[in-house]
Structures are given as structure tokens and as C-alpha cells.
Symmetry: D4
Subunit: 159 residues, 8 copies
């Protein structure tokens, strides 16, 4: 007999934001351990490659502004498509840096009607209140994101 | 020679609403018996898990309102995506409870242009008239939903 | 000098739901007292007229089901357009009745991306958690809705 | 004879972001001086009112997280509608603070297909490269935004 | 005190279909008599002008097919915009002719989510069942359309 | 080396309209002979089943109007989804009957931005001019539709 | 009695393309002479201002590519909004230059579902066949565009 | 452990524009050499077949205008679907010809929100500034497009 609450399949999850800690790996390894049928996507997380991609491929720029502009265009070729394919967008804010691209991704995902999970420490709660308000869940640790995905796909709680 | 009225394939059906009777199982087992290529989706139908998912994963809340709010967000991670994937949304109203989430799902599905089948006893006809008006079919028994799906996919009537 | 935080103008607010108390009048008179440039819309709140509109205009039906069906179609001519025109949809749930049309309107408005305010007593909090989760504000009294509109349009708090 | 390049009329411009300097006033007074038919909109820029609006109107919250959550919902009632009405969204990033809501607004506006002008000092260029890439113009001073609007509406350059 | 169930204003109604009887005049004069704030739109109802518009303005065609093609393009300049502006589309099927353009308009309006009223004699019920199913009301006489509009705008029944 | 003009794959074609001749079979057998990777979809073409589906599954109706209404709803469960999945919609008008559902499908498909091919004898040219104007090709014989599909997928002409 | 085929009001027409002849003036003066209620919009047609707007307002660029890029962004602030507001987009191709921006506007307008009129001499017919195919009318002279607008708004032919 | 920055899969790339050089083959062979999971699509690049497809299949036309019109319709059956399926649209402008269809495709893709890469020599920079402004990358050589795709899918730079 078919189980109408059976494990979900084919979920696409985009992991946006901070690139200096191992949060993406903690989520993906947790999902593997839980046997979830999720495909994770992310921006290019090699900081140097991400910054240099534009000028390396398309030719150098004297002004830093245009180097960044060309690079941001090339990276957007990847990120826009992956966000649009996603069922769920996880947006991580770390301790450091401005991370405006993460907040931009959150706004972009919100206007597309994507389900959003934010992931950040409490210290950012006040500054992120508009972003969190647009999210369906606010997590503190990557393992909570794994649990959320496990519940969403499998429909059961572990404890 | 290809049969242009051959069995439909890959239909996605979301089963929204009442969680206290076996109507989902009756539909899915009927669909299996009929050999239909339909994938059924549903919200988490374990009432306790559904109520507790938010605070269990994301941390306890003192106020019941926020416990519900966190839980509803977590469940929406699942239901919104599945409704958006659906070709047909079946919305079941049982004898008891307010079941406002079922009516909410029906309105949500209607605005997305989804095909809707409602499933409820006659006693609710007057109260559900706006919901039924937005549906393409109003069924009384799960077996009628199976027959509808069989007709939609196979194009034949059993008698 | 133009005041970029000046009073908002031309806001359209749809008042959905319960028709047995004076909540719409309390909101509209409060908005007048506050000098707000808001136009309020509502379904037909004359219960008998709403029930009879279909058969009175288009011809009688023997079965109650079809009387309701015809009536719901006629009323939808009004409500769909007004919800689609609205900037904000206020959905009121009273003490009695199933009020599934209110929840349906909320779901419809949510899928259209409308801003939603729900208005209901605490006793319905658990049953309305999915609807409240899709709202930007949950109010208990009509006067709070007036205050919300005043803040949204004028940008100031009274106390 | 009608002038097909005559002054534009009825443009709606939303001014998002930093609330601690007089940039909005500089833009609006410049637009008045230039005789532009532009209506400016903005979030509530009274910081205290913005933070307190939720709990003042809807009732206090013990946890700061929920106070922020309620407040962000109330403010979103205003900002979402105004961004959706806008032809052009100007997003200002100042020297201080995280300003994630500004970047969120930019992403939201981008996904809606709005025309975006960013306004920020060069020091933020690298951190804002994704946001700037989604903009049609990057300005440094409010007076440049006035010139942009004057050119867009009147089609002439002053020098 | 504002009356939240006050007369509706600014409704746009498109009158599609049959051009050989006075049904449009009966609706518009009835609406005037009822004091409704409705603007009616219609295709060009001068049959000869409608057929000749294309070749008269853009140059003659030898083949009848291309004369029709050019003419249909010119008429679509008018009808598409007016249907897209409409809140309600009334589609009239008369006794004669194929009237495929009326059914096409109905399908076009349905996919745009417009509210549809059909107007036709009973003899066409079976052939129009798919069109009627997409309508919110099926009327037999123009005066019923007036009554529908009066109810939709004023919220009261005359008898 | 990949061939960027290689055979197209996975095209979905909906065959709408007349059900009394073998045009669908001629198209599908032609497509098989040409080795095209096309999946054809169609409404239920068993006239009796199509008419009776509603009342057979959901219960009898005394009035013919409601029998048709229920039946049209059930058939729409199939047709709407299949039209929305289609890349190309072929709409066939035969010699007889009103065939308003075919014209309705064409309008529906046009508003969704689907590519349309019409298929009809010259005698209907004038009556179908609005429908043909919304089409990308007007064919006279099913074999021309096969040739169109072959060209669209394979990019070559046979003579 | 209201005239349901009365003169249309409030039509917005965007005049895209060639800037070296007086075609826009011929259309607008013709529309005035005909008493049409049309508002015409256009890009900035002062070639030097259009080229220099970006660097004049936002600061000089050494590379011509970036000067053009900045200028195109500033001009897009105007053109995108005006195209989106338009009911009809007229695209003019003159004798000279590449005029790729005109073809780009036509593609942009087509994907938005705007009604398109092209205006060009016969010599460009073959090169413009894809653009013309997306148009509802192909005119040779500005006066024909005036006649088209007159017919669309007034519903009568002059000869 | 799953690699969240693993190679992208299933990317669809449409190659629009010039048909007289081997740029499509250089891109596709480069993508094969790089092991990219990309499917390339293109218009029919056999110039004669493309010009003749309409009249060959649907019947001859005396006027060249209608021959082109019919042909453009048939080709649009292919190109519209493939552009709508694309994640990335590459638009190539060569040395010769008007190439208005390439610019039209770019505008069409831009309005659909597709990611665009333009590919053209510097000599066209000024004439293509509006098209380039809507692109995320401007390449000079096909091999740069391969590098862009490799970076987008694999997230690494070769040098």
C-alpha cells in the first residue's frame, strides 16, 4: 500500500551566505546520515575564485569597482538559477563581515515565494528581524537545519 | 502506434485536511488497485509530531501562541512546496473541529490556479459553499476521488 | 518641502470574515476619526441577501447544493476583485460558526502575496495557527487594526 | 502639439535603508527644486517608533526575539506595499550598522523586477558588489539621485 | 462614518461576443438606470469596419486569409488591452454563427483569472458547458447581467 | 562532439478539439514514423464517457444544466493540467458542431503564452480569424502538423 | 445612455526606436488632430544627452565600454518603467544603424505580453521577420500608426 | 560526504544569434572537453531550411512578406519553447547583417528573467550597450563562454 506520508524526494535546498565556517558540510553530512533525498546547492565558496572569476575569464579591469561588477555578474549566472530552482533557501549569517549578499539573497528568495530558513547566532537577532520575519524558521545551529529537513521530508521527530 | 489517450503519468496529488480518519489510505490504496501513476503528498498527519515539531527542533516557547507559531512555520516548509508541486489538491473536511487550515489550503491552491477536489459530507455543504465553488469536483467518499483520478488519468468509466 | 514620511494615501483594505458583529464599523469609524486615507471593502454582509442573490437573480434551484453554488458564484464576482485590489486583507474570525470562507480568503490572499492581518480571540489561536503564520499581524480587537493602519499610513505611535 | 518627450508624471520612488542621516530630505527637497512629479515613500524612519510599533499596538512580549518579530511584521505591512507600488527603489547604505534590511529590500525589489539605484560610499563597494550588480545605477551622493530622477523624468542634462 | 459596504466604484466590464442584437445597450442603459459606477468596454461592433480595418489602414491583401489576419491583428490591439483591464468579462453567445472569437475571449479571460459571466439561451447549454464551467454566473437575459452588477456593486437585492 | 542542433527531446503536445475523426491518430502515427520524441496529450475523446463522467462518479442530476456542469468540472481536472504542461497546443476545428470548447482552449492557451497550431479547413478561415491570429501556424491537414513537429524537433525539411 | 463603443481613454503608448527623423512628432500631432486620449512615452531622444547621461551624473569612465554601460543603466531607469506602463509599444526601425535597442525593446515588450506595432520600410521586411511576427500590426508610415490608434480608440474607419 | 559545491547538473543553455560561423560548435566541443553536464539548444541554423520551412510545410505565398511571416511563425514554435526552458541564454552578434532576431531574443529573455551572456566583438560595443546592460557577462570569444559555464557549474578557475 502506498504511504502518503512517505519520505519526500527530490528536494532542492540552496545554502546561501557565510563561507568561512563548515556549516554547509555539517548540514550535508547530517542529511546523508539521515538518509534524506536532498540536493544541496551553494554559491562558489572559494573566496578567491569567486572574487577573481570575472576578470580571469573576461579580462582585467583597472578599477576595483568594475572588477567587482564583472565578478558579481559571473557569480550571479550561478546563484540566480540555483535560487530559482530551490524549494528551500537556507541563509546563514556568521559573526563577521557585512554579508549583504546573504541578506540580498534572502530578499530575492522571499519575493520569489521560496521557503526560507535563517541560521545565525542570537547576537544578530535585532539586526536581522526583517529577514527573520520573512523566514519560516530561525535556526541557531546547522544540526537544527538537518532536523528541520528530516522532519519536512520524513514527517517524524527523533525525540 | 502511440495512443494519445493513453494513461496519464506523473500526476502529483496533494491530500489536505482532516487527519483523524483513514481517508488518505483509502484513496492511495484505491489508486494502487487501479494501477494509477499518481504520487500522493500530504502534510505531517501525526498530530503530536505536527504540534511539537517547532519547539522540539528550534527550542521551547513559554507562550502557547509562539509554540504554535514556530510549529506552523516548520510545517509550512513542507506543505507550501508540496501544494505548489501538485496538479490536483484534494481538500477533506471531516465531521469535527474547525479545520481552518484545510480551508486556508483550498484558498491558497485556488489562487495558484490548482485544480481542487473537495471531499466532505453533505452536512457541511452550506458552510463550504465558497470553497466548493472554487473546486472542480465535490466528492462525498474517498472512493469517488479514486474514480475521479482514474477517469482523469485513464479516460474511461468503470460502468 | 515634501515629507517623505508623509501620510500614506490610497490604501485599499479588504475586511473579510464574520458578519454578525460591528467590527467593520468599529474599524471604519476609527479610521475616519484618525483621518486615514483608506478605502474599506467587504463582502456583502447582509446574510439573507448573500444567500439568496444567486437564485433571486438567476433563477431558483431545487437542490440546496446548487442554490449555494449559484450564490457563491455571484458573491465571488464581488469578493475576488476586491481582494485582488486590496493592499491589506483583514480576516476576522468570530466566536461562532465554521467560517471556512474567511480561512479560504486568507489562503487566497496569502498566495497572492497580500499583506494579512488576522483578528480573533485567543480561544482560536491553536486552530488558526496556520492562518496566523501567514499573517503579518494578529490582532484581538478592531481598535488594534485601526492603530495598525494608522501606524502604517502615518508612521507614528499614539502612546 | 503634444511633446512625446515631455516631463514624466506620477513616478513612485521608494527610499530604503539608512535612517540616521538626512539623505531622504536632500533627495526630496532636490526633487521639489527641480519641479519633478515624483512621490517618495519610505519605511517609518523614527527608530524608536519602528522598534516599538509591534508591542505597543499588539501587546508586550517578554522575549526580545518576539518583540522584534511582531515589530517586523507590522513594519512589513507598510514596506511591502510601498515597494510593490514603486517604479524605482533607492537603497541607501550608510557608514554604520549591519543594515541587512536594506540589502533584503534590494533583493526583494530585484526579484520583483524593480529598477534599483544604490547609494553608498566607495568603502562599501566590495561588500555591496552583488547588490550593485542588480542595480541600474550606483550613486555616491543624494544629489546624484536627484539628477538621475531629473534625467529620467525630464530627459535633459543640466550641464 | 464610512460605509464599508458602500457602492463599489470604478468597475471595468468588458462585453464580448455577439454583435447583431442590442444586448450591450440593454446592459449599459440598465446600469445607468441603476446608477452604477461601471465603465463598459467592447470590441468594435461595426461588423464592416471590424472586417475592413486591417486592409483599409495597412493596405489591401489579395488572399482573404491575409485580409482576415491583418484585420484580426488590428482588432486585437483593442480587445487584448480592454480584456486585461477588465474586472468582469461578460461573454454573449447569440442564436447564430460560430462565434469562436467569443469562446476564445472566454478562455483568454479565464486563464488571466478574470471573473466571467456568460449570457446565452438554454439551447446552447450543452455546447457551452466548458465555457459555463469557467464562469461565475450564467445569465439568460441582459437584465440579469444588470442585476448581477447592481448586486456586486451595491450589495442589495431589489426583490 | 555534441550537436547543438540535435533532435529535440521531451516535447509535450496537447491535441485539443474535434473528436469525430482520426486526426489525432494520424498525427501520432506520423510522429512515430518520423521518430519524434513527443508525448501527445488529449481530452477524453470517448464522447459518452466525457458527457457522463460527472454524474456517473459524483451522482446523478435532474437538470441537464447541472449534469453538464458536473461533467465539465471533472473533465477540466484533466484538460487544465495537460494544457499547462504542454509546449505546443494543436487546436482542431472540424466541419460540424459549435466546438466552443476548442476555441476556449485556444484562448486559454494563448493567455498562458503557449505556442498554438490551428488545424482546420479553409471554410472556417473567416470565423476563426481571431483564433488563427493567436496561432504560430495554421495547418489544413494532420500530416502538416507532423511536418511542423518534425521541423521543430529535428530542424530539417524533407523536401 | 452610455455608449459602450465610446472613445477609449487613458491609453499609454510607448514609441521605441529610431531617433533621427520626426516620426514621433508625426504620430503625436496626428493623434492630437484626431482628438485621441493617448499619452505617448519615449526614450530620451537627445542622442548626446542619452550617451552622456551616465558619466555626467555618476562620474567619468576611462573605458568606452563602461561609459556605455553606465549610460545604458541610467536610460533603462526610464525605458523599463515606461514600457511596463504601456498598453501598446510602437517600434520604429529607420534606414540606418544597427538599432539593436529597438529590437531588444520589441523582444522585451513581447515577453511582457504587450501589444506591438512595428513601423519600418519594406526593405527591412526579411531582416525583421521575427520581430514583425510578434507584432499585431506592421505599418510603413507614422500616419498609419495614427489611423491604427484612432481605430483602436474610436472604433471607426475614416474611409 | 555530499559535496555541496559539486558539479552542477542539468543546465540548459540556449545559443541565439549568428549562424554563419562555428561559434556554437566551439562552445559545445569545449563543454564536452570540460566534462560539463550542459544541454545546448539553438534555433534551426540551416539558413535555407529556416527561410523555407513555413511555405514548404504550409503552402506557398506570393508575397515575400507573408512567406517570411509564415516562416517566422514556424521557427518561433521552436525558439520560444527553448528560450523558456533555458537557464542561460547566450546571444551572439557577428560582424555582418542586422541580426535583429538576436537582439529580439535578448529582450525576450531579459523580460523572462533569464541569465544572459552576450558574445560579440568590441566594434559592436556602443550599438549593443542596452543589450549588454541586460547581460550578466559580455564575452568576446566562444572559449570564454565555455570558461564561464565551467566556472558556473564546477566553481573553479583553471588558472
Amino acid at each position: 500500500m502506498p504511504d502518503v506520508t512517505s519520505n519526500g524526494t527530490g528536494w532542492q535546498v540552496y545554502l546561501s551566505g557565510e563561507i568561512h565556517t563548515d556549516w554547509r558540510e555539517r548540514i550535508s553530512s547530517g542529511a546523508v546520515a539521515a538518509g534524506l533525498d536532498v540536493t544541496f546547492h551553494a554559491p562558489v565558496t572559494d573566496h578567491a575564485a569567486s572574487d577573481d572569476a570575472g576578470v580571469t575569464i573576461l579580462g582585467g579591469e583597472e578599477r576595483a569597482f568594475w572588477k567587482d561588477h564583472v565578478g558579481a555578474g559571473v557569480n550571479a549566472l550561478r546563484t540566480r538559477t540555483l535560487i530559482e530552482r530551490a524549494d528551500i533557501v537556507v541563509v546563514r549569517f556568521g559573526d563577521q563581515y557585512k554579508q549583504w549578499n546573504a541578506a540580498f539573497d534572502a530578499g530575492y528568495a522571499a519575493a520569489l515565494g521560496k521557503s526560507i530558513i535563517t541560521l545565525h547566532p542570537e547576537q544578530h537577532d535585532h539586526a536581522l528581524k526583517e529577514v527573520d520575519r520573512a523566514a519560516l524558521a530561525v535556526a541557531r545551529e546547522p544540526e537544527q537545519v538537518v532536523e528541520l529537513l528530516r522532519y519536512v521530508l520524513q514527517g517524524t521527530l527523533t525525540n
